[in-house]
């Protein structure tokens, strides 16, 4: 096609975009956290989102979360499908009245001009049966491309969110491709010194796709799932819900790997998802139970 996106004069590199977002949200009162050191499918699994969304205490945090989706791997051959990518998460509790405006300012900060590009809030309600969570919000479109998931959490772990937290999940690679005007994720400038996203991750995608789909030992994955499940219950029995929740994250990821290996039948799938859900919900319930009394004391009138 004849038309070519005129790239902005000095588009931000991938890492500068992250640094810009960090600076922006830091300035707006967020803790800048580091990624959770476990394999997980989305930033929402980070305890800073899931567990901190529970209870009455204010909480504002931003972080990058590497997200693993084994079934999305394409051996590095698809220009925008990856088994490992980055999400930028912002969680603000309670949700501030100007959350949309803050979000749009953050887009402007990384170089999206809203009078040049068509930015739209399109209905997209979010639900995670695994976490017993749902919320209302939008997918944010930039020229027809979904660049962010914007959600007001209503329930987490089966509990009403009191108060409601606002969650922003930026798809960093998509936004960067957009800002830099490239058609393949591997062509993204990671920094301004000539290192591309492909230099950093292409080989990882090839090897990890192969491992996810073909190599991973399914017996040990099944065994790992059973162990995580047992350990979660062990931790719950000892009233250490954060530890229990970590095991739920572990079980969830092992389930995703088993899915990628194609060894879980359609019938079994629902049952495995139910088991993960029980672990995650059980952990949230225990977390709530452990803290509810102190929260109620500190916030008169509040109850789980």
């Amino acid at each position: 096609m004849s038309s070519v996106t005129p790239a902005p004069a000095n588009p931000l590199s991938f890492q500068d975009m992250i640094l810009t977002l960090h600076a922006f949200w830091s300035r707006h009162g967020c803790l800048i956290l580091q990624p959770y050191d476990m394999r997980m499918g989305a930033g929402t699994f980070h305890t800073a989102t899931t567990l901190r969304a529970l209870g009455p205490e204010p909480w504002n945090a931003a972080f990058v979360q590497p997200s693993r989706r084994p079934t999305d791997g394409r051996y590095g051959e698809n220009p925008n499908r990856l088994q490992h990518y980055y999400q930028y998460q912002v969680i603000l509790k309670p949700s501030p009245a100007n959350l949309q405006e803050l979000y749009l300012q953050s887009l402007a900060a990384i170089g999206v001009d809203p009078l040049l590009h068509d930015i739209r809030f399109v209905e997209d309600d979010w639900e995670s049966p695994t976490l017993g969570a749902w919320g209302l919000g939008w997918e944010v479109w930039c020229d027809g491309m979904e660049v962010t998931q914007f959600t007001y959490f209503q329930q987490m772990g089966g509990f009403d969110c009191k108060p409601v937290a606002g969650e922003l999940t930026y798809g960093l690679e998509r936004l960067a491709m957009y800002i830099q005007g490239v058609d393949s994720v591997y062509d993204l400038a990671f920094n301004d010194q000539g290192v591309s996203y492909g230099d950093v991750f292409l080989e990882n995608e090839r090897q990890m796709s192969k491992w996810n789909f073909e190599v991973a030992d399914t017996d040990s994955l099944f065994e790992g799932f059973r162990r995580a499940e047992a350990e979660c219950r062990n931790a719950l029995a000892a009233n250490v819900p954060i530890a229990a929740y970590e095991q739920a994250i572990e079980a969830s990821h092992l389930f995703n790997l088993l899915q990628a290996r194609g060894v879980i039948s359609v019938q079994e799938r629902a049952s495995y998802m139910g088991r993960v859900r029980d672990l995650a919900r059980g952990s949230c319930e225990a977390y709530m139970a452990k803290n509810a009394e102190a929260w109620a004391a500190k916030f008169p009138g509040w109850s789980a």
């Binding site: 309670p94 949700s95 809203p114 040049l116 739209r120 491309m145 108060p163 009138g301």
Partner: protein, 763 residues
């Protein structure tokens, strides 16, 4: 008289909810004004993604005082009555008024300023607003009692005339100021009142009237296509959706790589429409071209060049996914895809889709082998039942080839459910199967049957007429109905999760449009026979598991091995004669329900054609009729007859006879002896004679399916029955006369019932 303006501004309201929200806002406002006794003129409601607005014209400045009087018990009534009245009215005795020995509660409602009424109504409307889904937000949401709205509410403008209506919702106070377009005019603008609202917003890049935005999108999209020498594929749903997503809509035309046109056009249209909300375009000769029209929400500083380019990339990514699926799916024949159907559950009680396909294939073949469906479809069934048999493309092969084609199509008709494309776009089920079948070189009749066997899917959808398609279409729907009714999973009220009503209507339409003579009993029993093993196994598994659980609860768990062994024993018992008999009883029960379900659907379906539901009942009530085409032919003849003078009078005579028989509690099977042992009166004799002739004539005509003839036979009874009632006394003092005349009326009733149960006919 004063005008009132209300604007409820919020974060983006889902496009699909806006029409409902406008209606609800108007309804709630009207109700609130009515309750308060405030009259008003025209009401206008508008919506954008960020606001709901209402303008009410010509409100009075205040309401009249209202005096309400409620009548209570007599002063002489027992104390409990008085107590009850006081409790109900919330008054004390000294507040009641006594008049003529009766207590009255009198309340005086003083007139109120309209502005106060409105100020009170606004928060109440917000609280009562029936959003399909609503949410809490912000600091107040620490309590679940906090206000709810579809998305966070961010501003309220409420102006009566030029006066601000003071009110507060969710901590937001009403004001004169609102916001313009999110990007073109982010600053506050001040509204003077109802009269400058639309213009002020327009100056701030907001077209508040959704109909204006819709018109604009419709026209500019069409113009953009025309400017490129193309024709817009009009899509009113997209017009409304895009108007619900924009405050300042700007349709823009872009192009995509023509190489994607190798993907079926329906796939491109669906991708563009559902995922991206784009219009598509055609060339003058009706072919899909490589163009799309997106609707931006800004007048971009570069006239939309960057927006078009961004959208083109997104569409290209989507289309390359679609093309990938199209290529992948065609690497295997449908028969190979179909092997994976045993992994998909159709319904837990009814087995997998592979099980269903097996049943449908058998049934489709049977329909052809029994010559219910033949290569010359319409002619085959037309035994004078339908005045105009539809034009049917005959199947150009032998009956045996038709049976083979029907079975093959049935075996492949669900295979596309496991393809990548249908996995991504479930709406394309059937259609993709048809494309894949053609691509692998299967006969057109088979490919068409795979494509169309879900039809008709809604009112006005095309009804299949090609013989192979009809066979698969009927077999699939009959099996679905038979199965769900057997498992007792029936539709209730508005809930019909398995679309059984649609399936029944589809069968009715297909049978009637093609004049297919099919007794429903046989195919339903065939499905039941195939399902017997499955359903029994399921139930026994359930019972067995309950037993195991009970044993575990009692601290007596079985080992895994014991478990299996015992279950096999259970299954043995499931095949026992007693269990088979039970299944048979159940099958019969579900069958009765299913036939009456068909009767109900038939009434709904025929209502539009002007066929009276009571006449359908009158024919169904005779029982034993499971051929819908024959049934309808009889109903049509009956309706024509009832419309004639003879018919109307015969019906009146019938009702009179039936009333007398009922009153006299005269019950026989219509064969009580009519002993004319006395000198019969002429009218009596005439009726006996006419019955002797008309009864057998009606029977013969019904057997020959000559329903007009049967009605004509009945018509000959009209004169004699009228004469009989005019000149003969049924309740004669002589018992033998009375009994004989009752028997005569009974025999008249029986003759009429050979054609239809006239007692079901209204009027």
């Amino acid at each position: 008289m004063t005008d009132f303006l209300l604007e409820l501004r919020s974060e983006e309201i889902p496009a699909r909810m806006q029409a409902g929200a406008r209606a609800d806002l108007e309804k709630l406002f009207r109700a609130a004004m009515k309750d308060a006794g405030v009259t008003h003129g025209e009401i206008t409601v508008w919506s954008t993604p960020r606001r709901l607005a209402l303008i009410a014209r010509d409100l009075p400045d205040g309401t009249q005082a209202i005096r309400e009087e409620t009548k209570g018990p007599k002063t002489a009534a027992p104390a409990q009555a008085l107590e009850g009245f006081l409790r109900k009215t919330g008054l004390t005795l000294d507040q009641l008024t006594e008049r003529d020995g009766v207590w009255f509660a009198v309340t005086e409602k003083p007139g109120r300023a309209t502005i106060d009424v409105v100020a009170e109504a606004i928060p109440a409307i917000v609280r009562a607003f029936p959003w399909p889904k609503s949410m809490r937000w912000g600091a107040t949401s620490i309590s679940t009692e906090s206000p709810k709205w579809v998305r966070p509410l961010s501003g309220v403008v409420a102006i009566f005339g030029t006066t601000l209506v003071p009110c507060e919702i969710a901590g937001i106070a009403s004001q004169y100021a609102t916001l313009g377009h999110r990007f073109h005019h982010p600053d506050a603008i001040t509204i003077g009142g109802a009269n400058d609202y639309e213009a002020k917003l327009n100056a701030a890049h907001v077209i508040v009237d959704h109909t204006v935005r819709q018109d604009l999108i419709r026209e500019k999209a069409k113009a953009a296509a025309a400017a490129a020498g193309l024709v817009l594929v009009e899509d009113e749903g997209l017009v409304i959706e895009n108007a619900g997503l924009t405050e300042w809509p700007v349709p823009l035309l872009g192009r995509f790589d023509p190489a994607f046109l190798e993907v079926p056009p329906e796939v491109i249209q669906l991708t563009a429409r559902t995922n991206q909300k784009y219009f598509i375009c055609q060339s003058a000769d009706g072919k899909l071209v490589n163009a799309f029209i997106c609707t931006a929400n800004i007048a971009a500083s570069d006239d939309g060049v960057a927006i078009i380019d961004g959208n083109r990339k997104v569409l290209a990514a989507r289309l390359s996914d679609a093309r990938f699926f199209w290529e992948q799916d065609r690497k295997k024949p449908l028969s190979e895809h179909a092997q994976k159907l045993d992994r998909i559950t159709f319904h837990e009680k009814l087995g997998t889709v592979a099980d269903k396909v097996e049943r449908v294939a058998k049934l489709a073949r049977w329909l052809v082998e029994e010559r219910i469906i033949t290569s010359a479809l319409a002619k085959a069934g037309a035994s004078g039942l339908s005045a105009q048999p539809p034009e049917v493309p005959a199947f150009a092969g032998t009956q045996e080839e038709l049976a083979n084609h029907a079975e093959l199509a049935a075996r492949l008709c669900k295979a596309d459910l496991v393809t990548e494309m249908v996995g991504e776009f479930p709406e394309l089920q059937g259609l993709m199967g048809g494309y894949y079948a053609s691509a692998e070189g299967l006969p057109d009749a088979v490919a068409d049957a795979i494509r169309d066997h879900y039809k008709p899917v809604g009112q006005g959808d095309k009804v299949p007429t090609a013989p192979v398609t009809v066979a698969v279409c009927l077999a699939d729907k009959l099996d679905t109905l038979a199965g769900f009714f057997l498992a007792d999973l029936l539709p209730t009220g508005s809930k019909d999760p398995f679309a059984l009503r649609r399936a029944a209507i589809g069968i009715i339409e297909t049978l009637t449009a093609n004049n297919i003579r099919l007794g429903l009993i046989d195919p339903i029993y065939m499905s039941h026979a195939s399902l017997a093993g499955r359903l029994n196994g399921y139930e026994w598994r359930q019972r067995f598991e309950n037993l195991v659980e009970a044993r575990i609860a009692a601290g007596d768990p079985m080992s895994e091995i014991e478990h299996t062994k015992t279950f096999e024993e259970f299954i043995e018992r499931a095949r026992s004669p007693e269990e088979t008999a039970k299944f048979g009883a159940r099958s019969n029960a579900s069958f009765k329900k299913l036939i009456s379900f068909f009767a109900d659907r038939l009434k709904v379906q025929q209502r539009e054609a002007g066929v009276r539901h009571d006449l359908i009942d009158a024919v169904f009530a005779l029982g034993g009729e499971d051929d819908l085409v024959r049934l309808l032919a009889r109903v049509h003849a009956l309706q024509a007859f009832i419309g004639t003078e003879d018919g109307a009078n015969l019906l009146a005579g019938y009702k009179r006879a039936a009333n007398i028989l009922k009153k006299e509690a005269f019950v026989t099977a219509g064969n009580a002896p009519i002993s004319l042992s006395y000198m019969a009166e002429p009218a009596e004799k005439a009726l006996v004679d006419s019955l002797a002739e008309a009864g057998p004539r009606a029977t013969t005509a019904v057997e020959a399916e000559d329903f007009a003839g049967a009605m004509a036979a009945l018509a000959t009874l009209r004169g004699p029955i009228d004469a009989f009632f005019d000149s003969v006394t049924v309740n004669d003092p002589a018992p033998e006369k009375r009994l004989s005349r009752l028997a005569l009326l009974d025999s008249f009733r029986a003759a009429v019932h050979k054609v239809a149960d006239f007692s079901k006919i209204e009027g």
